[in-house]
Point group: C2
Chain length 314, copies 2
């Protein structure tokens, strides 16, 4: 089961964090951008080439210390189909380096259409009898607003392809409560109801270590809710955004973990990707050190969280 | 305002329907697929070329009678980045033919990431000072589970780029009620609460004809809810899926319209795209007539709905 593989990688590397790969041109050192424009012009192709080069440098700097990367689809779609090709190539490169890849797409639809998304991101597609893997991630973030018709098509593909999903439960943004915190007529919040669904859906993808193949997104910016959901959804592994740039700290994410240090993986995107810009204030900011700066920041984040939660064991 | 343009096109063509472009290889006549494989092999590139050729034929057959097309992202992502390129090329071709394009992506995220999706699908992206339009749709379907942080970034782009959005409110699938029909503590359903949000968000994008630039998705398969929401969200234009293949009929969609015949646009995807397969049982099924069959089905659908709602006027 896919999240078992993620858990094993977390334990092996003693690192419950994932590096978000959300590249914007603004985050990419000039020397990389210029080399790409040299080859492809100041076009979407040029931008996409810069994205991929930047990502590969990050992956090279991180793959032996982080268990997973999380590319965010929006930043690739923003550069059109060449950007989407860079997403594909980034996923392929990360998997080559042994990383677990969570595509952050928050996809949602129903029936045959959800099956198409599942095949696109987590499975294979037949082209006249030949099976092709369009994007090939290990897991995908999804939005459960449409109910089981939007999730069960994924479970079939996840079972067949050893892949997993993370369902949005309580997101990290300030206005997440507008709908997610609304109380339902049984006194539960909407996010708690979504958490219950995750436990139910997860029953179809049981794992070896107590966590199913249906994870949940629960933000670092709401530690009380993280604690509540850790208890309410004991078989649901959490993907925790909101650390660093969004304000979450090690103390805030700690309630997402169980007593073995399992149960959650914490994401940082800008904190890691843009570490060179912060560091550059000292070193001249040409960005040639961006991989090293990312690595140092990833280590700082790992150490801060592990200091708080202790040794991670199966 | 973008939905004003859609409304004007609906009135001009006296047709409140949109043709869904959700192409799968199974829906595409063999002679098209074979020509594409000849050029690109039995690869994702070959599949994507077949998708694009098929779509162009549909658009050629439909552009003078339907006001809009709705490509569904999942079916393009399913064929990898070449499929996503076919999405881009399909949108460009449809716009060339004067059609209003609704990209059905059900995208959702927050802040800078939602801005990236908005730029990708509804706006422009700077590449070293040059503005490029990555996909260039007129409207995008979105999921509001994350609250205002997920929607307001879109509103800015919509205002600047004359584009619009449709927020999922009550979807057409059997299990849509699992969460959407849950009663909140004020006695309203979740979908009604989402409808209220649409009215609020729409206040920032007012239109000429009483409807804002923030539309809502409300399924044809729930006519009572469609009627309820037409009353509860009087400034919100509805995109109505579920007609035809999913079981909705003209009587079911009628409650979505106001007394002028405005207020809704009804989608049919498989009914139109696959009309040739149904017709082919008579004609030998080589599919060369697929455009004509789609046109006849689109006319049948238009006539059935207009017979029910009457002349559409501004």
């Amino acid at each position: 089961m896919a999240l078992d593989r993620l858990i094993e990688a977390i334990v092996e590397k003693q690192n419950p964090t994932v590096a978000g790969l959300d590249p914007k041109l603004d985050y990419i050192p000039a020397y990389i951008r210029e080399a790409s424009y040299e080859k492809y012009g100041k076009t979407l192709e040029g931008a996409a080439d810069a994205l991929l080069t930047f990502n590969k440098g990050l992956i090279d700097a991180l793959y032996d210390i982080v268990p997973a990367v999380k590319p965010q689809c929006a930043y690739y779609e923003m550069y059109g189909w060449p950007g989407v090709k860079a997403l594909h190539d980034t996923i392929a490169y990360a998997k080559e380096k042994g990383l677990f890849v969570i595509t952050d797409g928050k996809r949602n639809d129903i029936g045959a259409t959800m099956t198409a998304y599942a095949a696109a991101h987590l499975g294979q597609v037949p082209v006249e009898g030949e099976l092709v893997s369009p994007f090939g991630a290990d897991a995908l973030t999804v939005n459960g607003y449409l109910g089981s018709d939007g999730i069960t098509p994924l479970l079939t593909v996840c079972r067949e392809q050893d892949t997993g999903i993370f369902v949005l439960v309580k997101t990290s943004n300030p206005s997440s409560g507008e709908l997610q915190d609304r109380l339902l007529d049984d006194g539960k919040t909407l996010y708690a109801a979504m958490g219950d669904r995750c436990e139910q859906w997860g029953g179809q993808l049981p794992g070896k270590y107590g966590y199913s193949g249906v994870g949940a997104v629960v933000g670092a910016t709401y530690p009380a809710q993280l604690q509540e959901m850790r208890k309410a959804a004991p078989h649901t592994f959490f993907l925790v955004p909101g650390y660093g740039a969004q304000g979450g700290a090690a103390d805030d994410v700690a309630p997402g973990f169980d007593e073995k240090g399992l149960g959650a993986i914490v994401n940082s995107s800008r904190g890691i990707m843009c570490a060179w810009q912060k560091a550059g204030q000292k070193t001249g900011q040409d960005g040639k050190n961006y991989g090293q700066a990312a690595r140092e920041e990833a280590i700082r984040m790992r150490d801060a969280i592990v200091a708080r939660i202790g040794k991670i064991s199966l």
